[in-house]
């Protein structure tokens, strides 16, 4: 019997469309995995199901009732409980208070004591920490708390959004074993996971989501027959995200030769901690002049922290950073800009109330010491806008652009600062696949024109297709470094990136 | 319930206001009186008393003087500086009034002076005791001040206390940082010293402070015989309560600037006992009617009865002050036979009537004010449930009683 049915779901934020006609079902007692790359719309799907986001079209039917426009708090009472992405525990409340809140609505409240016993049995560590403030728990413990809190609501459908995010492999295994145990108790589960291997290890069925639509549905039969899930999944991702496959060999040759002996950026023994958490540890990287360097690694590996350290948004706890031989750690972001470092952000940071062209002009105006006139700036932004393909939307307010377009806008804005070194943080995320190919060409052209690029990207094939050299990060440390071919061949890298498969016990 | 009565009276008051200002113009000639008052905002208490006094005065003349209908142009100055300037400008330049009454709060009167200078109409000021205001209007023959100057608050009690308890006693002063306390401090210091007292402490408290005990405790250390509080009613209520509670053991307490004395007593309760203050008016005094104009200046008890009947409350200082000032103005206009401001001013200066406020006669002051009435104050003490007049001797009906 079908418990949850999504049909033709459309949703987005502001002007952007994230879900574009999504169909999905979860049966009674079923465990379903929802897979896809970053920005595919997985979390948005979860937000629509739980009512945090109102869909602009389509229907959500739960247990035979159309709940499309129910407010969020009513859905929880109906038995839809989410363990949200990023855990979202209540940091200043104790573990037990968090759990009690999980059973806030009357239907669950009646069984609170019983539920508490159950989740404590499932997660013994939480019983030990029951008096502790949730904010002081470790990441893994918070994840367990988020799941336990969702279970406290006596869900008919349990939604798990990235339960493996940022967890150490050991804890990961505990978490997934627990998910399996929960599944055995007959609760339907919809699981969003980046770690496809782990997800498919517990799920009976899987959907692959791409650009707001289901592009592949893998049945239980296929699951059992297919020996190598990874291959299946990888192929799917590559096919959907990259219609015209770019070969690893087609790197710009000119840049290869032009490698300068002196690195433009030298990072030595870099370390950064947040409270007890080590985000970046003893990291040393050289970026050669005119190099195209790719940095990959799973979520939480410290990639964005690295960029924040280079650009002065964060100060290192230890280590040094040199740009063109000058020590730059401790400088502010605007100093870095003036010194020729440009950057895009992982989370879009365009200026929403300014038009596209004004956004880019801002980039052109203040980048170098010598001030230029407005007219000059207007002239200068034409090329970056053309490069990213926004020349026809110059007067549109940035806030109304789609996510992918905003990413392009950020790229154009960074380019307008005329950087020597360009740092890109998931600049492709949210772009439709035709655009990905186009953007790759753009980046190649920028690189060919002499700009050094350091790029973080989730789309592995993109990095493989562009970068001359790749650094793989995991838990803040350098796991591997080498040419794209070497990286693909290394089993350690593959495992880190796509996760360890669990066998169905 | 009294709350509903408040509403009823406000509505009635509002309707009266409408009647006064908005009456249909008759063919009859009109005398226009500008009244910039604090009808809203934090000094609304003064403005509403002023409005009541005016209404009573218009009523006493049945709305007519010298064959002219009295038209009162009320203007709300919203208790703000700018409001005062705007209202004055509006009255002077647009309405071209020749007669003004108000505003009342010291700061707002001060703010209105420059605006008044533009055309200098005949201005009755039933407020503002600050000497800086006296300086500002020194030599101005068109300003008629009907409120005691700051020193009036201090000479009376100082002399009375000196007479009763002899010289050489120690005086402590507690004053607020507002316009009132600041402007009175030098006067109080001067007059108590002149009367033979020794000032042993002056302590400052903030306006609207939640706790005045620190200042009181510092004063306690100096063991004064007399404590003088220079602050307005709002702070006066707090300080009286705190003095009572702190059991300072000071036998003589002098409060200054409690124009709403009855309101203050009601709010302070038992702690008001023993307090001495100088007042220009207090309901319940035996003041006879004016022999010539008994209808306009009736005996205090008759006027107070009429007031209480009309407003269902006892009149306070400003009710009486504005009534008396307005009534004197109307009388002067009547005697001048019309609205020529020079002639009216002359008639006002020549007036000598017996009012509920005492003798209604304008005289110059040493400080430079040309027309000053009601500068005399009498000193009262609250003893038990009674209010006893202790000074001047001629009026007194009791003796000082120090607090045990």
């Amino acid at each position: 019997m079908t418990l949850l049915e999504l049909s033709g779901l459309r949703a987005g934020y502001g002007g952007s469309v994230v879900l574009d006609g999504l169909d999905l079902t979860v049966g009674e007692g079923e465990v379903v995995a929802l897979l896809g790359i970053n920005g595919a719309g997985k979390s948005t799907t979860m937000r629509v199901i739980t009512g945090l986001l109102d869909p602009s079209g389509g229907r959500v039917v739960f247990g035979g009732v159309d709940i499309t426009h129910f407010p969020a708090h009513k859905r929880a009472a109906e038995g839809i409980c989410l363990s949200p992405e990023g855990r979202q525990v209540f940091p200043h409340l104790s573990v037990e208070e968090n759990l009690c809140l999980g059973s806030f609505h009357p239907r669950a409240r009646r069984h609170r004591a019983e539920s508490l016993e159950r989740v404590y049995a499932l997660f013994p560590i939480l019983r030990k920490r029951r008096e502790q403030k949730a904010g002081f728990l470790s990441g893994g413990e918070q994840q367990m708390l988020a799941m336990a809190r969702a279970l406290m609501g006596r869900p008919r459908l349990l939604l798990l959004d990235e339960p493996s995010f940022g967890l150490a492999p050991l804890i990961l295994e505990v978490v997934f074993n627990t998910i399996r145990e929960i599944a055995r108790s007959g609760i339907s589960i919809l699981l969003v996971e980046q770690n496809a291997q782990a997800a498919l290890g517990v799920a009976e069925r899987g959907y692959v989501l791409s650009e707001g639509r289901i592009t592949l549905s893998v049945s239980a039969a296929e699951l059992s027959s297919s020996g190598d899930m990874r291959k299946l999944f990888l192929r799917e991702i590559e096919e959907t995200a990259m219609p015209a496959r770019v070969s690893v060999e087609s790197k710009p040759a000119a840049a290869e030769e032009g490698l300068n002996p002196e690195p433009i950026l030298q990072i030595r023994g870099l370390r950064r901690t947040f409270g007890g958490l080590v985000a970046v540890n003893n990291l040393s990287i050289d970026v050669q002049r005119h190099q195209f360097l790719g940095v990959i690694g799973p979520n939480g590996a410290g990639k964005t922290t690295l960029l924040n350290l280079i650009t002065g948004y964060l100060q290192p706890s230890a280590g040094e950073i040199h740009l063109n031989g000058q020590r730059i750690d401790g400088l502010k972001p605007y100093d870095m800009c003036v010194r020729g470092v440009g950057r895009t952000f992982q989370l879009v940071q365009s200026f929403p109330e300014m038009s596209v062209i004004d956004n880019v002009i801002t980039g052109a105006l203040f980048a170098r010491d010598a001030r230029i006139s407005l007219d000059e700036a207007r002239e200068r932004v034409r090329r970056p806008l053309e490069l990213v393909g926004l020349e026809r939307k110059t007067d549109v307010l940035a806030g109304t652009l789609a996510l992918g377009e905003q990413k392009k806008l950020e790229l154009a804005r960074a380019l307008a600062t005329q950087p020597q070194l360009l740092l890109l943080d998931e600049v492709m995320a949210g772009s439709p696949h035709e655009d990905v190919v186009e953007l790759m060409e753009v980046l190649r052209a920028i690189h060919a024109a002499g700009t050094t690029i350091l790029m973080i990207e989730h789309l592995v094939h993109v990095i493989l297709g562009l970068a001359q050299h790749i650094v793989v990060l995991n838990f803040g440390e350098k796991l591997f470094e080498g040419s794209p071919t070497e990286v693909v061949a290394d089993p350690k890298v593959i495992e880190t990136y796509f996760g360890t498969p669990f066998t169905n016990k | 319930m009294r709350a509903f009565r408040y509403i009823r009276h406000m509505v009635m008051g509002a309707l009266c206001g409408l009647f006064i200002t908005g009456g249909i113009a008759h063919a009859q000639k009109v005398i226009r009186i500008g009244a910039p008052l604090e009808l809203t905002g934090k000094f609304v208490i003064y403005g509403s008393q002023g409005q009541r006094g005016l209404e009573m005065a218009v009523e006493a003349f049945a709305g007519t003087v010298a064959g002219h209908r009295i038209e009162v142009l009320l203007r709300d100055i919203q208790s703000t500086n700018q409001g005062a300037v705007s209202a004055m400008t509006d009255l002077l330049e647009k309405e071209k009034v020749d007669f003004l009454i108000g505003p009342i709060a010291s700061g707002l009167v001060s703010a209105a002076v420059p605006a008044w200078r533009q055309r200098k109409p005949l201005w009755i000021v039933p407020g503002a005791s600050a000497l800086s205001f006296e300086e500002a209007i020194a030599g101005e023959s068109m300003v008629f001040h009907t409120y005691a100057w700051g020193y009036g608050y201090h000479t009376g009690p100082a002399n009375a206390l000196a007479a009763a308890f002899g010289k050489g006693k120690k005086v402590a002063i507690i004053y607020s940082d507002g316009a009132y306390g600041r402007s009175h401090l030098p006067d109080a210091r001067k007059h108590y010293t002149e009367a033979g007292f020794q000032i042993v402490a002056t302590e400052l408290v903030r306006e609207n402070a939640a706790d005045m005990n620190p200042a009181l405790q510092k004063i306690r250390l100096t063991k004064p015989d007399v404590l003088v509080a220079l602050m307005q009613t709002t702070d006066g209520i707090v300080v009286a309560k705190q003095i009572h509670v702190a059991k300072l053991g000071i036998p003589i307490l002098v409060g200054s600037a409690f124009p709403q004395f009855q309101t203050w007593v009601d709010a302070v309760g038992e702690a008001a006992n023993g307090w001495i203050t100088a007042v220009a008016y207090l309901a319940g005094q035996a003041v006879p009617a004016d022999p010539k104009y008994p209808r306009i200046f009736p005996a205090a008890k008759d006027w107070e009865a009429a007031f209480t009947k009309k407003y269902n409350r006892e009149p306070e200082l400003i009710d009486a002050m504005v009534y008396t000032s307005a009534a004197m103005l109307f009388l002067a206009i009547d005697r001048a036979g019309g609205g020529d401001k020079e002639r009216v001013a002359k008639e006002l200066r020549n007036l000598g009537v017996e009012t509920i406020m005492g003798e209604g006669k304008f005289v110059p002051t040493p400080g430079g004010a040309v027309n000053q009435a009601f500068n005399e104050m009498f000193v009262i003490q609250r003893q038990g449930d009674k209010i006893v007049t202790v000074w001047p001797k001629a009026r007194s009906n009791g003796q000082f009683k120090p607090i045990q």
Partner: protein
């Protein structure tokens, strides 16, 4: 004779009063992220409520407190339903101005109903005091202190152990996650707004026998409450408690030990606030505040 014991006592008692002035404001801000510029008027209505019931029915302000709190909570409910609910997602400036306007309306309604006359409640205890260990203990202030601490602790306990209190904390800490728990966020906003108004009215009731009641008493109390809330870390009830006492000790200390200190006290308190803002923008116990 030393002033020290009296200073400590005065500061402590004043701290209690300050705490009550600010705690409602802190609750409202902590949960809804709205600075209630009309909070001073809630305090004022509380004071008038206590005054009227005391004068006309002889009910002691302490006894009438629940009734008054209920009435003012009702005013809070109306303000929330008619105005605040519509600007929950609007910029701070819009909210501030809106509530300033509401405050202006309430203030002038109060003038029409109660007139501008200064009032104060007189009870047996408000004028009683005794000497202990060289300190003069004013019973009125002691009772106000007890009410204040009682209500603040009551609020903290209610927030901690009651179902609704925890839900309100949840809303303050993670709005989206709270919705996922089945918590109706708007309803919680309304409840906190009403509880905040009720706490404001309790402040007024406690002040009714110590200080002077006028329709305009709210504004300067609001400013003081504001300073305390910011010092405490915007919306943290515990931080507010600490900040109230810090401010009370600083002000009272300056009043006692600096010549003309009574006048400078407030300035010094504001200087402390400015300093804390610069050195530690999140206040003493700032938490979960996005800036």
């Amino acid at each position: 004779m030393t002033l020290l014991p009296q200073f400590l006592l005065d500061a402590l008692l004043l701290g209690g009063l300050y705490c009550l002035m600010a705690v409602g404001l802190a609750l409202c801000f902590g949960v809804t992220r709205i600075i209630n510029f009309a909070h001073g008027e809630m305090i004022m209505f509380g004071a008038y409520g206590a005054f009227l019931l005391s004068v006309h029915f002889g009910i002691d302000p302490l006894l009438s407190l629940p009734l008054v709190a209920l009435g003012v909570a009702l005013i809070g409910f109306l303000v929330f339903k008619l105005c605040v609910q519509r600007v929950l997602d609007a910029p701070h400036v819009n909210q501030i101005l809106l509530l300033f306007g509401v405050g202006l309306i309430l203030q002038n309604i109060a003038v029409l109903i109660f007139t501008g006359d200064e009032r104060s409640v007189t009870t047996a205890y408000s004028l009683a005091s005794d000497q202990f260990f060289g300190m003069m203990v004013a019973y009125g202030r002691l009772i106000a202190f007890a009410v204040s601490i009682g209500l603040t602790v009551g609020l903290i306990v209610w927030l901690r152990i009651s179902e609704m209190g925890r839900a309100i904390q949840a809303v303050a800490q993670q709005r989206d996650a709270a919705k996922l728990m089945g918590i109706n966020v708007t309803a919680m906003y309304m409840v906190s707004f009403m509880v905040s108004a009720a706490l404001g009215s309790a402040t007024g009731a406690a002040m009714s026998f110590l200080l002077t009641i006028t329709p305009f008493m709210g504004f300067h109390i609001l400013i003081k409450g504001f300073a305390i809330v910011v010092l405490g870390g915007l919306g943290s009830v515990g931080g507010t408690l600490i900040a109230a006492f810090v401010l009370a000790f600083v002000e009272t200390g300056v009043s006692y030990y600096v010549p003309e200190g009574g006048g400078w006290a407030e300035g010094v308190a504001l200087a402390v606030l400015l300093m804390v803002l610069i050195l530690r923008p999140r206040g003493f116990l700032g938490q979960a505040v996005d800036n």
